[in-house]
Symmetry: C2
Subunit: 395 residues, 2 copies
């Protein structure tokens, strides 16, 4: 995959990354919870208004922390979209919870809010909306369902750094600051990166003290260093969820350049949109609805069928441009198919078959990709070409 002339993703050193890593080493501390971790956390808390932010080794780790904090266990149910990354579900599975998979919307891959309430049972404890491509789920409605049924909401904001939701009250709120807990990723494919990395945001004060303990292997070490207890020891479950200062120092350099990174990504995104919009029919695809803020995390299109997608992918691959599809529905995965309750989730399956992501990274030569797309769109089709319909029965 790394051999394409235009890869799908390319990590980017924005400036002082290695300088800060050397600074961390010189400071005498490169394990977790050092100077750069604290600086990153303070930045995110201030800029986005999270009550508390804790960096983690990955978004998977942030999701595991969230799953532990929600207190779910065997017999409890968690509502999660099927069209998401394995970790969204896996974190709750590790706690023994049962996953109840929800379908996506017809107009974008986010969870179909209208179908959530029918999935709520007396055993439901948590809803996990995933802000696909950094575009907000309908948080007003989701928080309302949660309130009425006494559920917790964990935002999977893996792709949603620097993205916002404007609610019915007209207030624009950062994603990850609305649910009780939020989870972000700084994986190399994200807008700002740490190689592998993530962040848990805590917006409900009930979870603050315990979150620090779970983060540091179930010990009250953070309290000890603040002088709140006179020795520290093993007080709870947890894991080593905190990243090394190598990652945090790298991330800090990215944070310093977040405005520049974001405006470049938005520029690429707008060029893609302007070029593809008039070609949708010729490409046999359509652009997604972006009802809310767009953080330009991803540019994706949805083809009319798997065959159309495959033709396009192959055409681009011949030009050494790597376009990649995304998730396979989790409800029909080898691990969960037998545990799933059997409901069909056709929209999730459709996105599995027809959604395609175009290359997106800071240094992307977007015009070259657009030129190739235009070339593909210009291939003459037989006028009476049989319209290929979407097939749910993938083999």
């Amino acid at each position: 995959m790394g051999e394409s002339r235009i890869p799908f993703n390319k990590p980017y050193m924005s400036g002082r990354e290695t300088e800060y890593i050397a600074e961390a080493v010189a400071s005498g501390k490169i394990c977790g919870n050092g100077i750069f971790t604290k600086k990153c956390q303070a930045f995110f808390e201030k800029k986005y208004g999270f009550k508390k932010a804790l960096l983690t080794s990955s978004c998977t780790d942030a999701l595991e922390m969230a799953a532990i904090l929600t207190g779910v266990g065997p017999g409890d149910e968690v509502i999660i979209p099927s069209y998401t990354f394995v970790s969204t579900a896996l974190a709750f599975v590790r706690q023994g919870a049962t996953i109840v998979f929800a379908d996506s919307r017809a107009d974008n891959p986010n969870i179909d809010t209208a179908k959530i309430e029918a999935l709520v049972t007396p055993r439901t404890k948590v809803i996990v909306p995933v802000h696909y491509a950094g575009v907000a789920c309908e948080m007003d409605e989701i928080m309302d369902i949660a309130k009425r049924h006494n559920l917790l909401v964990v935002e999977d904001a893996a792709q949603a750094i620097d993205s916002y939701y404007t609610g019915k009250d007209g207030v624009r709120r950062p994603l990850g600051s609305i649910g009780h807990l939020g989870c972000f990723s700084f994986h190399e494919t994200k807008n700002i990166i740490a190689g592998e990395g993530g962040m848990l945001t805590i917006n409900d004060e009930r979870f603050m003290a315990r979150s620090e303990i779970i983060w540091e292997k179930g010990t009250n070490r953070s309290q000890f260093f603040r002088g709140e207890v006179n020795k520290y020891g093993w007080v709870d479950i947890g894991s080593s969820f905190l990243p090394s200062e190598l990652q945090s120092a790298f991330l800090w350099a990215q944070i310093e350049n977040i405005e520049r990174i974001q405006s470049k990504r938005i520029e690429h995104w707008n060029k893609y949109r302007a070029a593809i919009e008039p070609l949708q029919e010729k490409l046999h695809c359509r652009l997604p609805d972006i009802p809310q803020c767009n953080n330009a995390h991803m540019f994706y299109v949805v083809f009319d069928s798997l065959e159309h997608r495959t033709k396009f992918v192959e055409f681009m691959r011949e030009r050494s441009i790597l376009c990649v599809f995304h998730y396979l529905s989790l409800h029909s995965s080898p691990f969960y198919a037998e545990k799933h309750d059997g409901r069909a989730l056709p929209e999730s399956d459709r996105y599995s078959d027809t959604l395609l992501r175009l290359p997106m990274y800071y240094e992307l030569p977007v015009e070259e990709v657009i030129a190739a797309i235009r070339e593909f769109a210009a291939i003459p089709r037989q006028k009476n070409e049989k319209q290929v319909q979407y097939r749910a029965d993938r083999s």
Copy 2:
């Protein structure tokens, strides 16, 4: 703690660390399982003869992988020394297992092999010997017990990189290569470091295929990239256990210098030993028995009492030299005290109260520490000073 003139630990850049990080970025991949991860794993497999090595984000992560691979769950028992880091037990607690704590030896903090067999019940599934300070547990006897009772052995080799065990057959084997599974740490306090980092070693072929899947969030992604399956998906439990290439690139630079790092540490260690040996009586401490290979991970002494240790620590602190104690017995921790079966583990408690670690790192000015120790030893004591006995009833 970082403000001491001579800290307890100081991470060390051995050479090309930041250069390799820049190289990883330029390669287009800084998430997990990239070039440097593969190079490190291949190095460890070749040098130490592990059947398979997988880098992890921390030793905690390696222990969690081991716990998952052993298949333990609620009702199963795992024998672990009480004098160890929280993670040794926590990893198995997360899988729902019951921890049966064992006491340490009288002559060093390793698990007291003679007492293991009495702890074995029909529910016992795993023994976890911890090679304290990098010094081998009695692996012949432990593997024999495991074999007779059909148990698995997970070596907690967090401190034991580049250390060895010579068995009754006279063969010298690297620690972490003897048990079914082994777990290492590359935390900044270790001999070679990645800030936070670890490694799982797999010495039993039964666990090989599954270890890769658990490592990559329960997906068969590694098999997919080797062309063994034609798509990858969710097939098992797991987590994001793999480190970023930032950590692996850093570690690779350390690995390149492992011989130089080891000889410098051994030099420090030998100087400590030569200086302290004749002063043991005056210091009210004794040096540990090192019955096996010493990888110079740690230099520790065991005082006659908590009071003697406290006096020494304070004297050194006044000279801005940071000496630190180590674990508190896990069987009496706030988290586990009520779950423990009530057996007294006096040796573990004694090490909690009386063991002290002296500063140890590559750039250590060891002569300065030794000079301060000599100064302490030279303080005249009243001849009829009442001998302070070890008190088990710590308050």
